[in-house]
Amino acid sequence: MFKKIIEFSVNKPKIIMAIVIAMVVLSVAQFPGIKIDTDPENMLSEKEFVRIFHHEVKREFGLYDYIVLGIVNEAHQDGVFNPETLEKVHRITEEIKKIEGVIAYELMSPSTKDDIEQGGIGTVRFKWLMDRPPYSFEAARKIRERAMENPMFYGTIVSEDGKAVAVYVPIKAKNLSYKISGEIKKITGAITGDEEYYIAGLPVAEDTFGFEMFKQMAISAPLAMLIIFVLMLGFFKNVRLVTAPLMLAGATVLIAMGALMAAGQTVHIMSSMIPIFLMPIAVLDSVHILSEFFDKYRETHDRKKAILVTVEDLFKPMLFTSLTTTAGFLSLAFTPIPPVQVFGIFIAVGVMMAWVLTMTFIPAVISLMSKESLKDFGIKKEMSAGLMDRFLVSLGRFSVYRWKAILIAALAVVAISGYGITKININDNPVKWFTPGHEIRIADEVLNEHFGGTYTAYLVMEAENKKEEIFKTPEMLRYVESLQDHLKSLRQVGKTTSLADVTKKVYYELLGGDKKNDIIPATKQAIAQCLISFQNSHKPDDLWHFTTPDYSKVNIWVQLKSGDNVDMSMVRDEVARYLQNNPPPREIKTNWAGLTYINVVWQSRMVGGMLKSFMGSFIIVFFMMTFLFRSPLKGLVSMIPLTVTILFIYSLLGFTGRNYDMPVAILSALTLGLSVDFAIHFLQRSREIYSEFGSWKLTAQKMFQEPGRAILRNALIISIGFLPLLAAPLMPYKTVGVFMFLIMLVSSVATLVLLPAIITGLEKPFFKGGRN
């Protein structure tokens, strides 16, 4: 049946072309309906507890996603607290309020905050911190003094070194962050002076990342294509023929993306990487075909015959390499992360599509080519063919004759890699998806140096008994206070703010401003009366960011200096330990919310899910190999190169201290899918050749001719083709580039060196009954 289809492709190439073009057109027609989603929160299902809880917390405590604008003045001796800078802060705040999508009412800036202070003997005053810019240096310094006295201000909206102020811009939706931050930049860009402006906060980082990810896709994919084209041209010397794999890769990507959009799926940042994953896979298949065809055509000079023989030879290994890659990606469908599921499924679709096209489209293109255009094809030796052939011959000899040394070396590599893997650091931080030096990374560093931290998490405590107003009791507020003290002792935490801080501030200001009274009042009535006094301010609703009107819940704002998941996890674990060791005086439930925390949750899902899906696909691939080679031994041997490759590559993470993060996690599927390919080709061809010659030595010689060349060409094309990704300003792209390079390098070495060495050692059992 398959033979018929391939013959059909060769005989009626125009029909195949028409079908492919129709499919591509149909897919591209889906593109206008594209739905883009750059929100990493969607890594979790909408029904996920932490997301529901996060939104509940935001609603209940009137919280929003914030863009943080930092205004820094290092030049002035008073830092930002001089009339000129504060005037700018005031003006910028007013301008930002007008931006569409900004919730002006909840904007936090020195000019929108109300303060309580001493207004003379026996007098308290509720006064805006800075409702208008100060006119004198003295007035500016007074604002600084007051800000440093208020726990709701210092470390949050004014830096304790006085050199920076922060404006927290609440936005209606996270996916407006990129647009709004652009408008803020326009405002600050029009202002001259010594001040420097930085925009930070997770929403901006995440939304900007999504935006740049798509932009990068448009740069990287064509660039990789171009380099692959040049390399292939170097190998095969025929422009038209070499265009075929690129067209195939392009068609594969377009059809897979079209299918994704037709299925009504949103293009998440994850799915935006589908093209860059599919391209090498698609190219890999067709390079095998071209490489083989190139060699066969040299022998026969009959293009139809040559292509038919080629496809016949490669049918089985190609089918299986495609199936294993598909299995690797399809296993992602079982991870608990929706975008990863979509990613896995549609890459699997693309991989099978690439296989079908390789089997039909490439033969069709070849048969459409005139004899004329193939005239010189395969006759002229390729660029470095002589060198490559000689290299392969000596490599083959080395692999067979030095098999023992190779096995020992391989064992050593595995042992060292195993150790490296134990040192892997599981961590992620969306800000670090940008390369160092990116403005978002710089803003992140600068602002976290000046302030308590731009990463917010909310620790919410909820009374089991809602009737009691427990967070008006001194016991509970003192408990919150001591928990905060503990939090503050952690290196990851820059600042915490809670109802306890509000109460203490109001209390000591009421009592005359003496810091010795910076304590929780002794009775529930006293606390209640402090809090009702606080509500005489201009912004009484600010209280409800910290508690609910029934005082059954409190929200502790935790500012972290780093968005690293390990840091957030550490804080979470520390709080859990504290609650365990210091039981609260009343029964409460505690939970975390905030984007920083949500990232931790989805990452732990991702790591666990990936590991399971990886193990699952590893076992599936093993069974497939056993089935393909009709022998568990051969199945097992075929798994060795990929196992070594994976161990080696991931151990590098451990040794270099690179984090095991989102991009690295999804690359495990690609590593598995790609690195088994060469082994399948090698073993399948070895079997076939062995059945002809009945001698491993002769087989090995043959193997290091055509099949070896195909593997080496592929390894070179893919590894070099994706190197330009290293220049991308986004870490996931760099990571993909590095991985492609390593996968190709290590798995080709493992296949061409380790496999022959193993087979040499296992010749008898391996080829038992193998000769026809």
Binding site: R59, E60, K98, Y105, D114, G119, G120, G122, T123, V124, R125, F126, K127, W128, R132, K472, Y507, L510, L511, P521, T523, K524, Q525, A526, I527, A528, Q529, C530, I532, S533, Q535, N536, S537, H538, K539, P540, D541, L543, W544, T548, P549, D550
Partner: protein, 256 residues
């Protein structure tokens, strides 16, 4: 055209009542009925999520024998943990009011600094000024016209820096001179707050607001105040309105 407008303005002026007079009468009608008075106030503050809080208090008022000066005394009954909290306001139109509060749990009398009267009254959507009245001399008033038996007046603050609104509109009943509604507009000209008299009853012959509402269009919250047990001309002692009685509330009047 300009002539026509000028003539129109002139005709209003000639009509015997000016915007300033209307506002003055409205101010008298809402804050100066009789020589003194007492009311129980129940405030329900509802936020944008529908969560409610309650404040129950007794308000006593006494006018100075001459001029527009007034004194207010407020005693809180609820929430129960602030029971006994008292406020004292000496209202001095044309100057800064004097304000004190007493927190019984802290046994502390504090003056609240003069200046800003636009801060919230105990967390409600009413500003201090909405409770005790805004001096009519603080704004420029313009009569915009009449709507359904009410004067419509636009008031623009003379000192815009002291308030968060750029102007407000006020509707005053032509017969009773009771203000029915006020709309406040922010610096960008957007309506952000509405004050309404929901119910007006005659008490001892004085038209009196018995239910009023403040709606904050920005935060989405509102506060409804209901006045009951209203009495006028009860002969309140001047001594009630002193710092001393903040700590020692006049038992006779404060029982809810």
């Amino acid at each position: 055209m300009i002539l026509a407008v000028a003539f129109l303005n002139y005709s209003f002026a000639a009509e015997a009542i000016t915007a300033v007079e209307i506002v003055g009468k409205a101010n008298q009608a809402s804050y100066y009925q009789a020589e003194d008075g007492k009311a129980e106030v129940r405030m329900v503050i509802t936020d944008s999520l529908g969560r409610t809080r309650e404040r129950v208090m007794v308000i006593l008022r006494k006018d100075a024998s001459e001029g527009d000066q007034q004194k207010y005394y407020v005693y809180f009954n609820k929430p129960s943990d602030v029971k006994g909290m008292t406020y004292l306001v000496w209202k001095k139109p044309g100057a800064d009011d004097d304000r004190w509060m007493y927190l019984p749990a802290l046994d502390l009398v504090r003056r609240i600094a003069a200046g800003d009267k636009r801060s919230s009254f105990v967390g409600s959507n009413f500003a201090y000024e909405d409770i005790s009245g805004r001096g009519t001399e603080e704004d420029e008033h313009t009569l915009l016209g009449e709507e359904e038996g009410q004067y419509k007046i636009k008031s623009v603050p003379k000192n815009p820096g002291s308030v968060e609104f750029s102007y407000f509109l006020i509707w005053v009943d032509k017969v009773t001179f009771m203000p029915k509604k006020a709309e406040l507009y922010d610096k960008s000209g957007n309506l952000y707050k509405i004050l309404e008299a929901l119910e007006i009853k005659e008490v001892q012959g004085f038209p009196t607001v018995t239910k009023m509402k403040a709606t904050d269009l920005v935060s989405g919250g509102n506060t409804v105040s209901e006045f009951s047990n209203i009495e006028y001309d009860i002969g309140l002692d001047e001594k009630i309105f002193t710092e001393r009685s903040l700590r020692r509330p006049p038992r006779k009047y404060i029982k809810g």
